[in-house]
Amino acid sequence: MLELNEVAVRYPGSAQDALSDITLTFDKGEFVCILGKSGSGKSTMIRCINGLQEPTYGEVRWDGQPLSKMSEEQLRKVRRQMGMIFQHFNLIPRLTVMQNVLTGTFGYRSNFKNLIGWFSDQEKKQAKQVIEDVDLSSMADRRVERLSGGQKQRVGIARALLQQPQIMLGDEPVSSLDPGTSNHIFSLLEQMHRQRHLLTIINVHDVGLAKRYATRIVALKAGEIIFDGKPEEFTDREYFNTYESNEVNEKTRSR
């Protein structure tokens, strides 16, 4: 369903690949957690999947179609099937919970309708439903600045769900939340994952959360995959390799 084929990214002005030679295949129903130190390429990889970042080398394929060959219009159609949540929530300030959630429909509508903010009863009903799914019904008309971090992330999830996505991407969605709230967000993500039969791919720093919720763990180091397997296979040795050992693979340097 989703393939990364020898994907490499090098940011302009950098001497090293942020991501190098990543080949992965993801299938529907997988709950994947990406682990790795800050700067290991987790974020870059997630952003390659929905085309926010273009690979310098290699290809991302969605249902067999390479993203790089797509027109802007086709890319938009792919993106709207991929919900994404962010570390800093990235909600639109000064708008209410309801209004923010409704922006999840933008990929399906004309710019004119989006600009004047006209939504059909069907769209409003669906928005109400997802707000209920993330348990924010009582706050639907509140401005998002007034919510707590956990509530903001739930708005982010609701917005992504309204896209009727097939994939849910998360770029460190719980890194600015406390442990209890993080756990709550993850259990919500898992619940939505099951209900809607999604492919979920999430960057996370908390190994405990990853082992509890993931069906598959991928660990990155200096832009390369150093582990790809089941959560129970991610042992203390893998933990050490991912987070504490400083040896850098020569292959990464030489390219």
Partner: protein, 251 residues
């Protein structure tokens, strides 16, 4: 020690600049020996002559209208231009540079120069003054707002791209709510400036309370001048109060 040798050099340069500026501007406090003349002159301003009050009110409204219309047209055109003149939302590099250049060109010409040209071309009255204020304000507001656009949080823009919006729409929709209070804040400041500018444009024939002030002054009707000045002060205060009220309501 709080000071370094470098600071002393700076101080020396500052003193030199002050000295030369005073020489060039014939800055001379001893001229206040004739202070009595000034008091005699100001004494002629009172009591105020209120007979022309209705006319003055009409002219003041004309001035406020000029300033509002001019600065609003400035905002109306400056806002969209600011998005193509900000590096993070500009469609292409050439468009970015071109719009930047156009904005700085409009800014670099003072309103009074536009006023002189347009008043000659279109005849005396407030209309050319409105155009002069509008033109200059497109440059100023375009520049100021483009800086707000550049400083805006890129996160929501990414989120809007991720839901599948077109790029230009993602920029517009996520940036505008972020910068809106500051846009209004800049706008009201420019409105205040525009009121002062429209007074000066009145001096060169642009109409409004400025022209009346100028005429009263040139015809030695100082008892009317005092009322003109009072009215101008009241207008500026009202605009200021109104501006901060609207800003507070928006934030």
């Amino acid at each position: 020690m709080w000071f370094k040798r470098k600071n002393l050099v700076t101080l020396l340069i500052l003193c030199l600049l002050l000295y030369f500026s005073m020489r060039l501007t014939e800055f001379d406090l001893s001229k206040f020996r004739d202070f009595r003349n000034m008091i005699d002159f100001l004494a002629q301003w009172f009591p105020m002559d209120t007979s022309k009050f209705p006319g003055m009110v009409h002219d003041s409204l004309e001035t406020v209208g000029m300033a509002f219309l001019g600065s609003f047209i400035g905002l109306f055109f400056g806002l969209p231009i600011s998005f193509i003149a900000a590096w993070n939302t500009s469609p292409t590099k050439p468009v970015y540079h071109l719009s930047r250049f156009a904005l700085s060109f409009m800014r670099s010409i003072p309103e009074i120069v536009f006023g002189l040209i347009l008043l000659t071309a279109l005849g005396l009255g407030p209309f050319p003054a409105v155009l002069a204020i509008a033109f200059h304000n497109i440059g100023v507001l375009g520049k100021l707002i483009s800086e707000l656009v550049e400083a805006s949080d890129p996160g929501p823009q990414e989120a809007m791209k991720a839901v599948g919006s077109k790029n230009w729409f993602a920029h517009l929709f996520s940036i505008l709510p972020q910068i809106w209070p500051n846009v209004l804040s800049h706008y009201f400041y420019r409105l205040e400036v525009a009121i002062r500018t429209s007074l000066v444009l009145g001096f060169i024939g642009g109409g409004g309370i400025g022209q009346r002030l100028f005429n009263d002054f040139k015809t030695f009707q100082y008892s009317s001048v005092s009322l003109d000045v009072l009215i101008i002060m009241v207008i500026v205060v009202i605009v200021d109060v109104l501006g901060s009220y609207v800003r507070n309501r928006v934030i």
